[in-house]
């Protein structure tokens, strides 16, 4: 099996890029193969991968795409977990409170609290009780929030202080200023657009609060023209100085202890201040993850749509190519590969759909001219999918501006001659219950190239000859076009309900392995 290894069998996506089948999607509205480059990626929902809390996108933006409760270790970037310790505290009765207060303030360390002063212990009211305190700890590198000097908290979540770096105020003022600038520009643009567009009404009304009349009236009344509030220029531009702080004197004398210096990864994980010393590492809020939905750029149908809830790993829509396109698995070559020597390869075809498939292997891909019938039917159906008047107005529903499909020629990398099969063959439907049945080989008339057949799987023997001029130690690539019948259960047109059958093809390239070294 090709688990965790690059698959030798690659399919050509409709955009011309070769991919293994498990990286491809199948748009059954087009119907074509799509890869990650020819789909639109959309954010479905934000969530924290640690606490699995769903966070709405506006809130996520407000929180800078970080979880409010979970932290990452600044040392090794694992998740921190809150650990509880019991700290003994002395509960005081009301009357002894005033008397004991100065003592309590002087001895605020837990060690002092654990050993109550003698007058308190002598009183029967002072009962030592324990209180749960929490600190953050990394289970991987044993970093704790105590290392950063953060005091233990009484609550496990929510109260951890944020790391405010030195120029936080400056940063905030800059953000505020530029937000104001953006807002102002937007308003000016809107104002400009409003002035440019002709009035909807035939007669300008006197009560029109925004047109010329208003400014006229305002001027008559002696008020100045209403202007958009200018962005407050509260920021002072940064000044460059030539004076740089001198290196500390001990940098040349003290030996460098590398354990106190942060690594590059640690600095990058704390981008605000990028500390150089280990002691200033600070727990970082965990960044959110997203659930992603994929949309075909041509027909704008969803290909992948995950379930909304973060705890679910299922999909509402999943059009993976491996669920719709027959899978080709290379089993083995009959002989070792040599250039110009005829050989045979065993290929296993699997039908993942609930309908029988007829498969034909073509040595050359059908040209685009051979397709107009199928192409025409697709285009005819298309207006139904999106609202017609929008299309008439020349507006597409596209989310991204670049929806023009880049037609890339599939580079024919094959370097072996394939002996075409004498006939097409049928892959029977997938039936999960058949897996458990007693298998009986029925004496059926099979074409000669079929080696073995069981359920929805067929093993075929394909003869080929690697090219004559192929040097030793080069990969032999077999290329063929696999034509298969696909039964589409969804139709765009509402009037025809019965499933339609398409004859689709996809180019398949198989890396059969390297040619062997020639003996002398």
């Amino acid at each position: 099996m090709s688990f965790m290894q690059p698959s030798p069998v690659k399919y050509a996506c409709s955009c011309g890029i070769l991919n293994p089948i498990n990286k491809l999607f199948f748009c059954r509205h087009c119907p074509k193969l799509r890869c990650g480059y020819c789909v639109t990626h959309e954010i479905e929902s934000h969530f924290c991968s640690n606490c699995l809390e769903n966070i709405p996108s506006t809130e996520a933006r407000h929180k800078k795409n970080c979880c409010a409760n979970c932290f990452d270790c600044p040392c090794c970037q694992h998740t921190l977990s809150a650990r509880a310790t019991t700290v003994p505290v002395v509960r005081k009765s009301e009357e002894s409170k005033d008397a004991k207060k100065p003592e309590d303030e002087s001895g605020d360390s837990p060690a002092a609290a654990s050993t109550p002063p003698t007058p308190a212990s002598s009183k029967p009211s002072a009962v030592p009780t324990t209180k749960k305190m929490y600190y953050l700890s990394c289970l991987s590198c044993r970093w704790t929030s105590r290392d950063a000097g953060i005091p233990d908290q009484g609550v496990a979540t929510g109260t951890w202080p944020d790391n405010e770096c030195l120029y936080q105020a400056r940063f905030n003022s800059l953000v505020e200023y530029f937000q104001a600038v953006v807002l102002q520009e937007k308003q000016e643009k809107m104002e400009f657009m409003r002035r440019k567009t002709p009035k909807q009404h035939k007669f300008p009304s006197l009560t029109d609060r925004t047109g010329l009349t208003v400014s006229l009236i305002r001027r008559q009344m002696g008020w100045n023209d209403k202007t958009i509030p200018k962005a407050k220029a509260v920021i002072t531009p940064a000044e460059a100085t030539a004076e740089v702080e001198e290196l500390p004197a001990d940098i040349f004398t003290e030996p460098l202890n590398l354990r106190n210096v942060t690594t590059i990864a640690q600095r990058h994980s704390q981008p605000a201040d990028q500390p150089t010393a280990v002691s200033s590492l600070y727990p970082q809020r965990r960044t959110l993850w997203i659930k992603r939905s994929l949309r075909c750029r041509q027909c704008e149908h969803n290909l992948i749509k995950p379930e909304y809830h973060p705890t679910s790993i299922k999909y509402r829509i999943q059009l993976f190519a491996s669920c719709h396109v027959p899978e080709v698995v290379m089993v083995r070559c009959e002989q070792s590969l040599a250039s110009g020597k005829s050989n045979a390869i065993l290929l296993k075809f699997t039908n993942p759909t609930m309908y029988d498939m007829t498969i034909r292997l073509l040595t050359t891909a059908p040209t685009e001219d051979a397709e107009p019938a199928a192409e025409g039917s697709r285009i005819k159906e298309e207006p139904v999918s999106s609202s017609p008047h929008l299309r008439a107005a020349g507006i597409t529903l596209s989310r991204q501006n670049s929806t023009r499909e880049v037609k890339r020629e599939v580079t024919d990398v094959s370097n072996a001659e394939i002996v075409p099969l004498e006939s097409e063959f049928v892959l029977s439907q997938r039936d999960d219950s058949k897996e458990f049945d007693e298998y009986v080989q029925l004496p059926t008339e099979e074409p000669k190239f079929i080696v073995w057949r069981k359920g929805n799987k067929v093993l075929i023997r394909l003869q080929f000859t690697p090219a004559e001029e192929l040097p030793a130690n080069t990969d032999v690539v077999l290329g063929f076009a696999m034509q298969y019948t696909y039964v589409n259960t969804v139709t765009n047109a509402p009037e025809k309900k019965e499933p339609t059958t398409h004859a689709l093809y996809s180019r398949v390239f198989i890396n059969a392995g390297a040619t062997e070294q020639k003996a002398n």
Binding site: C75, S140, C141, R142, W143, T144, R146, R259, V278
Partner: protein, 185 residues
């Protein structure tokens, strides 16, 4: 090498019978040795300090160097409050106090472990080196850092094991009492 095993178990230590012990080994009081833990004293005696935990499939070995033979003065001394987690393999030359050897780690010979060190899960330390105090070796790349905080004590875990292990396993009986030995002398 002595022909038979000489295993000294101090009172209050819990040593399961299914553990594999070979050679001259001394368990100080409060030690917990799980079943199928292995302690091999080929090159010389091993003395394990108080309140150490040796978990399942952990191996502590004091192996013979090629050409060497049993030497009663070549003592591998292991300090107190050490934890050898499941599946670790420790052949260190010296081990101090309060160290943690996490699961599946390997500490080769020639490594000197001082006190308060943690060798992370799956880490292989082969070259001879000296881990200075409170060193933590962690992660895929075996990065080292210095702990500012002391490692938490294992007393709760030891108390629990001391209560639970006798319920389900046969124990080796404590056969050496320092008080009695002193009274004899």
């Amino acid at each position: 090498m002595p022909s038979e095993n000489r295993i000294k178990i101090f009172p209050k230590s819990v040593v399961c019978e299914e553990s594999n012990l070979r050679g001259d080994i001394t368990f100080s009081s409060g030690c917990v040795v799980h079943p199928s833990a292995t302690v091999i004293a080929d090159a010389g005696p091993i003395i394990i300090g108080e309140n150490c935990i040796i978990e399942e499939y952990a191996t502590i070995a004091h192996r013979l160097e090629p050409g060497a033979s049993w030497d009663a003065n070549n003592i591998l001394s292991i300090g107190t409050h050490n934890v050898f987690e499941v599946g670790c393999n420790v052949e260190a030359a010296r081990i101090g106090d309060k160290n943690v050897f996490e699961s599946k780690c390997f500490v080769g010979r020639g490594v000197t472990v001082t006190s308060g060190c943690v060798v992370g899960a799956g880490i292989k330390m082969l070259t001879s080196q000296r881990l200075s105090e409170n060193t933590i070796v962690y992660g895929e790349q075996a990065l080292q850092r210095e702990a500012i905080d002391k490692q938490g004590s294992q007393t709760l875990q030891i108390d629990f094991l001391r209560k639970v292990l006798p319920n389900y396993h046969h124990l080796r009986k404590p056969n050496y009492d320092p008080k009695k030995a002193r009274s004899v002398v």
